[in-house]
């Protein structure tokens, strides 16, 4: 491929343009809808470029006037942040010791495969008892209950990612420190965990994105502003009688912003995680 013919080069550039258009067009259109005046969006023929830049929807959704669309949106945003934050924290706390143990003790690694296998379970297989259990403990429609349920997804996933992370840290370092007389807790605290900090951060980000993205359990286990997450709020908007499609688009842009920014900034780490650890669907 050192010398490319001119024709081949033209073909490559044309294909690249096509690919860029396919990737960008829907995303750009979402953004254009969010800043177009409502009249533009219902015009026939459709005008593809906003006649005027309309930012009022962003103001509406981000202002917390009581009983407004904004109050509902902000409540959902806070719920999403809390659920994803709590679930991620809990997943990392239980996954770090387990992942280290599995990485350093091959004899128990079969248990990890049992944990990973649960990742293939369809959520519908757990949904009915989880619903009844949450109802029994009064945790339906609470952020805490939803975060607990999210551990079904986050805990196996982070354990798997962290295990490959610990595998990459040579155990000889730990053995050397042990010969020098360090206790296990010192080794973990001063040596292994600092070395594993990057992979822990990546795993936490992945877990956060998974929780941010989750819809099925949130749809089942939340019913109003006290616990409804962004994904459910957006699905409500999309399926409801909202006449301004621009408002739906604006909510979509705002909900997509955190993961898209994380994705673009963390590109390299995400891709190496994707190719080594697993694939998020």
């Amino acid at each position: 491929m050192e010398r490319q013919s001119r024709l081949f080069s033209i073909f490559v550039h044309a294909s690249a343009l096509l690919l860029a258009a396919v990737i960008l067009a829907p995303v750009v259109w979402l953004f254009v809808m969010s800043i177009s005046p409502a009249a533009d969006l219902s015009a026939k023929p459709l005008s593809w470029w906003p006649s005027d830049i309309e930012l009022s929807r962003y103001r509406t959704l981000l202002s917390a006037i009581e009983n407004s669309a904004g109050a509902a949106f902000i409540a959902a945003l806070i719920n999403s942040l809390m659920v994803a934050g709590m679930a991620t924290l809990a997943a990392i706390v239980v996954a770090v010791p387990a992942a280290w143990a599995v990485s350093r003790t091959p004899a128990v690694s079969w248990s990890l495969y049992a944990v990973i296998a649960t990742y293939m379970l369809p959520p519908v297989a757990l949904a009915v008892p989880l619903y009844m259990g949450l109802a029994y403990f009064g945790l339906l429609n609470t952020v805490f209950g939803l975060a607990l349920v999210y551990l079904t997804i986050l805990a196996p996933f982070t354990t798997w990612l962290l295990k490959s992370g610990f595998d990459a840290i040579p155990r000889e370092i730990e053995s050397a420190a042990m010969i020098d007389g360090a206790r296990l807790d010192q080794i973990l605290r001063l040596l292994t965990l600092p070395l594993a900090a990057p992979v822990m951060a990546t795993s936490a980000l992945f877990a956060f994105l998974l929780a941010w993205d989750e819809f099925f359990y949130a749809l089942l286990f939340t019913s109003d502003l006290r616990a409804k997450t962004l994904t459910v709020a957006i699905a409500d908007l999309a399926g409801g009688r909202v006449s301004d499609y621009g408002l739906i688009a604006t909510a979509g842009v705002l909900a997509a912003l955190p993961p898209v920014l994380i994705g673009l900034i963390m590109q390299r780490a995400l891709i190496s995680g994707l190719t080594s650890g697993g694939v998020k669907g």
Binding site: I23, P45, L46, A101, T152, A155, L209, G281
Partner: protein, 293 residues
């Protein structure tokens, strides 16, 4: 330190995870099995033992058979399209062209977009009155009048598959690209010198490097596609005329819309069994591929 102590220590460190897994996955799964043999309702009635009546009813019902066909079609077509488009995009991104770094970075966009936002976006694009697809096709002169892409049984599932592909093929492309970059340059150069054409270079030189990562992506994508719920719920709720009702949607309706916890649980376990068989078949395939390589 004795081997015994090391193994005990490992189990102690795993204890928090195991406790969590047993209480949020193990117990619910066992309870789903129990419920599947009862006529329990979601709220109120405890239900009594009915044997395998739920399973018989569900398996014999036309709803299940139709949902199974719909799910299989969705999974096979969308995953196949994602694989082909993904590999093509990866081969392109591996070439030299201006803006390559930027385009590679852009590929993360559809993957990063939350599933529900993606579904909402495509729902707006397919809108029968004001949607961008109708507008674009009309302005290009390809259709005479606006169509209800998600409202007609003939086109709804295809429209869903396109939306799903758009979100997921870039991920396959990124995985394939990482594999392509691992192909040693001297091998492709040697094949070129030996006079191998583009097809033979791809088939015999590059494909062996791609096969492993692609097979893993294929397995995971197929399992995900078989469990599909979110995108369908947001875009069509299984309609129109149940033409997009997949197995997960059917279980949701049975257990939660109709509150029939017992038969819903039996249906959920049938789906679980299907996914497990699929996964086991793939695992065997992966092991064979690994053995052959």
């Amino acid at each position: 330190m004795s081997a015994n102590w090391i193994s005990t220590r490992a189990w102690l460190l795993m204890l928090p995870l195991l406790v969590v897994m047993v209480s949020v996955i193990g117990w619910p799964l066992v309870d789903t099995v129990r419920l599947s043999f009862t006529d329990a309702k979601l709220v109120g009635t405890e239900g009594s033992f009915v044997g395998i009546a739920n399973y018989e009813k569900m398996l014999a019902g036309s709803n299940f058979q139709r949902a199974l066909v719909t799910t299989t079609w969705f999974a096979v077509v969308s995953v196949a399209a994602e694989m082909v488009l993904g590999v093509l995009a990866a081969l392109l991104l591996h070439q030299q062209f201006r803006g390559r770094t930027a385009l590679r970075a852009l590929m993360i966009l559809p993957w990063a977009l939350p599933t529900v936002v993606n579904a909402t976006l495509w729902r707006l694009i397919y809108n029968p009155e004001y949607g961008a697809l109708n507008a674009a096709l009309t302005q290009l002169g390809l259709i005479d009048s606006y169509r209800s892409w998600l409202g007609e049984p003939g086109s709804a599932l295809t429209a869903l598959i396109i939306a799903d592909c758009w979100k997921n093929f870039p991920l396959v492309a990124l995985i394939a690209l990482a594999a392509l970059q691992a192909v040693p340059r001297d091998i492709t150069a040697a094949a070129l010198v030996d006079g191998a054409g583009p097809f033979n270079r791809f088939r015999f030189v590059i494909m062996p490097y791609l096969a492993g990562p692609l097979l893993v992506a294929l397995v995971l994508r197929t399992i995900e596609a078989f469990k599909v719920f979110d995108i369908i719920w947001v875009m069509t709720r299984g309609g129109p005329a149940n033409s997009t009702r997949t197995l997960s949607i059917l279980v949701y309706q049975e257990a939660f819309s109709f509150q029939r916890a017992g038969s819903g649980a039996s249906l959920a376990l049938i789906v679980t069994l299907l996914v497990t068989v699929l996964a086991a078949a793939y695992a065997a395939l992966l092991r064979r591929a690994a053995g052959a390589a």
